[in-house]
């Protein structure tokens, strides 16, 4: 299969009682040329998953394949070279560029690491990349501190593209930016992704942003993927109760001014119970203590406390890890 494939990926930190399974059995496919969005609350394991793919976090179990070739587990030169075709754009543009290296040098370094080319070829490539991310050629001569947040993020993108990746991972790429700047960066990333035919894993806690960028959205909760579906389907007909809460929680301008209306369903367990502690995930379905359609609200749904819905999820076309998922039409129970 082409593109990125995660098969039963597990990332475990520590041992014994302090052990933490940040990513727990994730199966995900990012086909070539598509954008897969990954949403979930902080601590759900999104960033760890990204780090595992690029080799910054240890894979304890499972496999990562890129275009059929193993990225992890594995060591040695060939794997490391292969990993170069996966590049990560970090969240904070203020810490992801070396403050003492000119923007052009940072990008040139990435080119040099890829292949030995002459100085003039490198300079031409730096110019091309800067142009690609809509920066001026003069920006190559500046230190990062002279750039605005949006410009830095574009420089970081140019550096990632210098490695000519086939897969780009954007981890909360616009979270540190102003909303007015965010649009420019998102438009640019989408444009570049289409022009270069890149595969992309777009990670964000902001569902509205992910919806705008992604073809397919995967929802992560407590280290597991609880729902994967094409973007339109997932946002208009979310089936997992957690996804439904996420969709409902997105602040929008359409309900503006209706402050009399309660924002949250006052009795919803999602807002009463605390987020699951990844050190001690609940038995059964990990979402059950917070689930509005689970055993907290509905007597007789005790299976949620015991059985893990993950196992059956793989067989469903619209993958959803819930025993009582909404049917595909949008009717309430």
């Amino acid at each position: 299969m082409s593109g990125l494939e995660l098969c039963g990926l597990r990332v475990r930190f520590g041992v014994g009682r302090k052990a933490l399974c940040a990513v727990d059995g994730v199966d995900l496919h990012v086909p070539t040329g598509t954008v897969v969005g990954l949403v979930g609350e902080s601590g759900s394991g999104k960033t760890t998953l990204a780090k595992a793919v690029v080799g910054l976090a240890p894979v304890s179990d499972g496999r990562i394949l890129l275009d059929g070739q193993v990225l992890a587990p594995g060591r040695g030169r060939s794997v490391i070279r292969r990993r170069r075709s996966v590049q990560l754009v970090f969240q904070d543009p203020y810490s992801s560029l070396n403050p003492r290296m000119r923007v052009g040098e940072s990008i040139a370094e990435a080119i040099r690491a890829a292949d030995a080319s002459s100085r003039s070829e490198q300079a031409a490539e730096v110019r091309r990349l800067l142009e690609l991310v809509s920066l001026e050629p003069d920006h190559a001569l500046l230190l990062p501190r002279r750039l605005s947040g949006g410009q830095r993020q574009r420089a970081a993108l140019a550096r990632a593209l210098a490695a000519r990746p086939s897969l780009l991972i954007a981890d909360e790429m616009t979270s540190a930016l102003d909303v007015s700047v965010q649009g420019t960066v998102l438009n640019l990333v989408r444009d570049i992704q289409r022009r270069l035919g890149l595969s992309m894993l777009f990670i964000s806690h902001n569902l509205a942003v992910v919806r705008y960028m992604a073809d397919v959205i995967a929802v992560m909760y407590c280290g597991q993927l609880v729902e994967i579906a094409p973007t339109e389907e997932l946002t208009y007909q979310p089936r997992h109760p957690y996804t439904r809460e996420l969709v409902a929680s997105v602040p929008g301008l359409r309900s503006a001014g209706a402050d009399a209306q309660a924002l949250a369903d006052a009795g919803s367990p999602l807002f009463e119970a605390e987020p699951a502690d990844p050190h001690h995930p609940p038995d059964g379905c990990r979402f059950h203590p917070r689930c509005p359609i689970g055993p907290v609200r509905h007597a007789g749904r005790d299976m949620c406390r015991q059985a893990d819905p993950m196992t059956a999820a793989a067989d469903r076309p619209h993958k959803v890890a819930c025993f009582f998922a909404e049917p595909s039409s949008h009717e309430s129970r």
Binding site: G40, S249, P251
Partner: protein
């Protein structure tokens, strides 16, 4: 920092007494080191048996030594060798130490631990002892002493380098370089070392002083420079036996060591202060506006929550100014608004628009050296600016609650959460410890923290991000605040947690009739909660409108552009997002006329010269624009280069 500013920082450092003294001394020492051996070589080595161990005289200003040689000439000539050896030793120490300290970040985990263990062990040895031990190994003499002192100073450099290098090695840019396949040694030389160089160079400068002293010590003990060569330590050695006959022969080299050592130490200090100046700029504190303090004070009452009709907060002409070399900069200029009880008002703007400083100006929290003043600043009918400091603090302490983006800035990590909430009750409301703790648990429950008794005994780091923010809101609700200032309270939180926090604010507002000022860069967050929205741009309010008008009835082109740039769940995925071209104005150099005109699609000549004032708009709010969109039905050209107008 720009090169200019860096230059001025150095110039500033040279004007301080330490900097000036260091510069003068260093130049003197360097001159002597260069000139003396050439000019005074003859005088220093001329043996005069007739004038052995003579005291101070006209021909020998500091007398002569045991072979009748001129002590002053010898002291001056010895400068070069003493300095050379000290510099060489420091160079050896720095290079070895930095290499050793950088090793743990280059090596793998286990080898790295071994090296840092070794460094810790070496640091435990006293430096001079180590040097004497090493000099025995390397052999007595110049070369042995240089190696010994250099290597003996290496552990402290290594100890200093290690955490610096480790913090850089964990930075995102090093991770990015690793992903790109940049080799380890290149990461060390291009990424890690340049970013730790500055403090290390300062340390090295100071270390030269210590090396001078250590060298003098070794030579004095006879381990260092051997006759006929001589440095200051060796001169001390040969001068000391005759100290009662000619004290100058022993004192002169001693004083020379002190002067040179002090020169390097001072220079290191001055360099450190320049490095430190980089973060904070030099401000000139202006005088507070006289007319405010001159006004008569009125007796202050207790804040009366929700007094009938009167606004909870009245801000009239609030200006926040920071001094700068080019004159005062005002990131907040002439901001006026009222907040009513039981109402949530949103304040939106890009970063740098002055929204947070507006809140700081209201709460008296403008960071030094900024100042805030207003024509009127009334909380629950009390003019805050005329109150004596203690009284003002008391009024703000009971009448105002603040919630910031980072809850950890409001919570002390070393104290239990319950105790921190209780403290508010004790300090501001005179409650007993017991009653305050009981109230704290109640409030934690009110902000929907489960098992509040248990949670109250926990420390902030045991709370999740959303829980901390709720605890801070609970802290604000320990009393009955008339006003809640919430500055980006949900930025960085997930949507579900965000909704929880926003919901709490709404509840506080309706249940307790508090006025809430909700500040955010995200207009969609503000729109979900607020009834009214203030839009700030370039330090001024440019529009004040009902939240329900945001989507269709915004009159200011900036408000419309801001609304259009937010991706929401209904945005057309086939279209590019609308953007606002250009950059926000620099408060230090605001554009003439309307601050938005360089980015505005509707701007004409008038916009560039005349600033529009805030006038009533048809939407029921106020707008500062020469070309406001007058009605919701009227189709105005959309803002934004990407060509997408307001959705809907």
């Amino acid at each position: 920092m720009t090169p200019d500013r860096q230059r001025s920082a150095w110039a500033g450092a040279l004007r301080t007494p330490t900097g000036a003294a260091a510069a003068v001394l260093l130049v003197l020492v360097a001159l002597v080191a260069i000139v003396a051996p050439v000019a005074l070589h003859g005088a220093a080595s001329r043996v005069d048996v007739a004038a052995v161990n003579k005291g101070v005289s006209a021909s020998h200003w500091l007398g002569t030594d045991g072979l009748g040689r001129d002590v002053l000439a010898r002291t001056l000539v010895a400068t070069r060798l003493s300095l050379e050896l000290a510099l060489l030793a420091t160079a050896i120490g720095t290079v070895t130490g930095v290499a050793l300290g950088a090793l743990p970040t280059v090596l793998g985990r286990n080898a790295g631990r071994l090296v840092s263990g070794l460094i810790n062990l070496l640091v435990a040895f006293p430096g001079l002892l180590l040097a004497i031990f090493l000099v025995v190994i390397f052999g007595v003499g110049e070369r042995g002493a240089v190696l010994a002192i250099g290597l003996a100073s290496a552990p402290s450099f290594a100890r200093f380098t290690e955490p610096l290098a480790a913090s850089v090695a964990h930075s995102d840019y090093v991770a990015a370089a690793r992903l790109l396949g940049v080799r380890r040694h290149r990461i060390t030389t291009r990424h890690v070392l340049p970013n730790v160089a500055e403090p290390l160079l300062i340390l090295a400068t100071i270390a030269v002083g210590s090396a001078l002293l250590a060298f003098a010590g070794l030579s004095f003990l006879g381990f260092g420079v051997q006759p006929p060569a001589y440095d200051w330590g060796q001169m001390l050695n040969s001068g000391l036996p005759d100290i009662y006959i000619n004290p100058a022969a022993a004192l002169a080299p001693g004083i020379a060591v002190v002067i040179a050592g002090v020169a390097f130490n001072f220079f290191g200090e001055a360099a450190a202060s320049v490095a430190g100046v980089r973060v904070e700029q030099k401000w000139i504190v202006p005088h507070r506006r006289a007319d405010l303090t001159a006004r008569d004070g009125q007796p202050a009452g207790t804040p009366d929550v929700g007094a009938a009709g009167a606004p909870v907060l009245r801000v009239d002409g609030l200006t926040v100014a920071f001094p700068s070399p080019a004159g005062p900069v005002t990131p907040v200029t002439d901001v006026s608004f009222d907040l009513d009880a039981g109402q949530i008002t949103g304040l939106v703007g890009e970063s740098g628009s002055g929204k947070s400083l507006t809140a700081a100006g209201i709460g008296g929290l403008v960071p030094h050296p900024g100042t805030a003043w207003a024509r009127r600043l009334e909380l629950a009918g009390i003019e805050l600016q005329q109150l004596p400091e203690a009284r003002r603090k008391a009024v703000l302490g009971t009448g105002l609650a603040t919630v910031f983006q980072d809850p950890m800035s409001a919570l002390n990590p070393a104290l239990r959460v319950g105790g921190q909430l209780a403290e508010v009750g004790e300090v501001h409301y005179g409650m007993t410890r017991r009653a305050a703790l009981k109230r704290a648990v109640e409030r934690l429950h009110a902000v929907r923290i489960s098992a509040p008794e248990r949670r109250a005994r926990q420390y902030p780091q045991e709370f999740s991000g959303g829980m901390r923010q709720r605890a801070v809101i609970g802290m604000g609700l320990m009393g009955e605040p008339a006003l809640i200032l919430a500055d980006e309270p949900t930025t960085g939180l997930d949507v579900a947690v965000q909704r929880q926090v926003l919901d709490l604010l709404r509840q506080a507002c309706t249940d307790r009739r508090a006025a809430v000022l909700l500040i955010s860069h995200d207009i969609s967050v503000v729109a979900t909660l607020a009834r009214r929205v203030l839009v700030m741009y370039g330090g001024r309010i440019v529009e004040d409108l009902p939240a329900r008008s945001l989507l269709a009835g915004a009159a200011h082109p900036y408000t419309r552009a801001l609304v259009a740039s937010v991706p929401d769940m209904a945005a057309d995925r086939g279209q590019p997002l609308a953007t606002i071209p250009g950059r926000p104005p620099d408060p230090a150099a605001p554009p003439s006329g309307c601050a938005f005109h360089p980015r505005c699609p509707l701007a004409d000549a008038r916009c560039g010269t005349e600033r529009p004032s805030l006038e009533p708009s048809p939407s029921g709010g106020r707008v500062a624009c020469w070309h406001p969109r007058l009605s919701a039905g009227h189709k105005a050209p959309a803002a934004g280069s990407a060509g997408k107008g307001v959705p809907g």
